[in-house]
Symmetry: C2
Subunit: 110 residues, 2 copies
DNA sequence: CGGCATCCACAATGATACTG
DNA sequence: CAGTATCATTGTGGATGCCG
């Protein structure tokens, strides 16, 4: 009768994809490969320092791949790995919820 | 040809359900109404201070309802609101991803 | 039991400037 | 362009005590 809840896996997941910027970064990469600067612009308020360290963490956990191309100046492309793509439904779901939430807020003001 | 990505709604959603503890708290409440102490035990490492402030924030955003029952000592029950329940699929999805992720890590060690 | 208040410590994040 | 270095600010965590 008692609903057994296992919170631990949620905590595990958040260790990888938690934090302030990982979802936005991953969501931005749902749109296909992006350069460092594209990510900065997509996300808007993130600083280069945070973006850099978050990308490093995501790369370390196998969710994102980094490819440096030796042009002048340098070009670097970031992309979701196959494993990272397993998060796409989740990311789109969050985005959809966010859109709906904003709509709800606007309605509540009128 | 260019995939237009709107990251902003993701940021909006994370303002409400982001942070270190909100997903675990909400996920724990997927199992039905819980008392303050039950939440503390479910989540494990959270302190009363953090739990209290996070619950207040969630209540403020209409995701969680609080009901105090005048027993001695006091009983307080927290529950997902109807609006909070719209997050259930998302929460279960994250949990499932976390379980799968742990499995992947274990496999990679063997 | 279910909190809130206070104080302290430290990690995460941010602003700005600078470099290969 | 794609970051790194440095410094300042904020967020989060812990301990303790108090109260309805």
């Amino acid at each position: 009768m008692k609903n057994k809840i296992q919170v631990q896996p949620v905590m595990d997941a958040l260790e990888i994809i938690g934090g302030k910027w990982k979802f936005p970064i991953l969501y931005s990469l749902c749109g296909g490969k992006k350069r460092f600067k594209d990510l900065l612009e997509d996300i808007g308020k993130i600083t280069p320092k945070m973006l850099s360290s978050e990308l490093k963490s995501l790369e370390c956990n196998g969710l994102v791949s980094r490819k440096a191309i030796a042009t002048v100046p340098v070009t670097v492309e970031y992309e979701l790995t196959e494993y990272g793509e397993t998060l796409e439904p989740l990311l789109r779901h969050i985005q959809a919820w966010g859109i709906n939430h904003r709509k709800k807020i606007i309605d509540s003001i009128k």
